[in-house]
Symmetry: C2
Subunit: 208 residues, 2 copies
């Protein structure tokens, strides 16, 4: 079904704004816009203004570059956390993913992307200098690189590794291997090969 | 994966506003909110304001109750259309559905729902009086009832039929039957039974 002739330009505007969002087509956009028409005016104002406020007032933590409502984010200002271990991630969502594992009690450093010449993203577009600064000045003992296992991620890992050489810090990457719950026969050969090379003593794996 | 602890209340607000929309869960809402953070401030302002403007400035056509930017909608004010035939539909979306068939050149009347005692919707909540008024005053020759084939739709059809009795107007309903492209064995018995009772002369069906 086509909804190309809408009876109102106001509706047309709302529909085209909704369909600019990733994963929302014109048909869903129309359904969402008509849903808004059923809500109270105050609710729709709150709806629209929430996004404007988000974009205009959001701050980035001046230490780790995570999003925050304050100058320094709640993780960086938490005295309970291990300040000697930094986990380097690509973006804000990855911070949340690692936090959700509840396996990490250190601080983060959000790079803001990975080196990708194809997309015109070079090292200078990433928060690498501030990472080197933190390692040099804040007594960091270990940097955990938790970037995507792609060519771009690996390039960025290597770039950071070189940048940190000479500073007295241990650099590690998160383990690559067969995901828990996966069937072995469906694992790709690179992953499976890597997980054989980096095998863990069985004793170690049962205590974890 | 849970995203229950967001690092910012501004982000939290945007995510909870998105997740109030039908069919959007918390995970999609977060993806949408983070997408907005990547856009220009002007674009996000346009985004938020489109919905506020839609809700605050939308008008309903005073003739047919379809949404409109003007007092009388573009369909009602179109001189090319057949003013003697009215198609009665539940809502705005149904107007678009019928328009998309390109098989109808008359005017519409948007009821605003169907009679549904379970949801507390009675005849007085619907635009029935204005329909009767249009039929009585505007020289309407035929009213086509195009409501949903549900018990509520049928009740509403009957209510309108009774209200229009005595006025010199023909009342018809859209045909119920097996949908084009459907396999006969999967049609439910009520639909199939109805489509046998209301069979069309073959000659008529090939000329349409």
């Amino acid at each position: 079904m086509q909804y190309d002739r809408l009876p109102s330009t106001l509706l047309e505007n709302a529909v085209s704004e909704f369909s600019r969002l990733p994963g929302i087509g014109r048909k869903s956009a129309l359904r969402l816009a008509l849903h808004l028409l059923k809500l109270d005016k105050e609710d729709v104002e709150q709806f629209g203004n929430a996004f404007i406020a988000l974009r205009n007032e959001i701050q980035y933590c001046k230490v780790c570059h995570n999003i925050s409502d304050t100058e320094v984010c709640s993780i960086c200002s938490n005295k309970q956390r291990d300040r000697q271990t930094l986990c380097v991630v690509e973006n804000i969502k990855d911070v949340m993913s690692v936090e959700n594992t509840q396996q990490f009690n250190g601080l983060y450093h959000v790079l803001g992307g990975v080196i990708s010449p194809m997309d015109g993203i070079g090292p200078s577009d990433l928060n690498v200098d501030s990472l080197v600064g933190r390692v040099a000045e804040d007594g960091v003992k270990e940097v955990i690189l938790a970037l995507s296992p792609t060519m771009e991620g690996d390039t960025t890992n290597f770039y950071i590794y070189r940048k940190l050489a000479g500073l007295n810090v241990e650099v590690s990457t998160i383990a690559r291997g067969v995901a828990i719950g996966d069937e072995l026969e469906y694992a790709d050969e690179v992953t499976l090969g890597r997980s054989i090379l980096n095998r863990t003593p069985f004793k170690e794996s049962i205590t974890k």
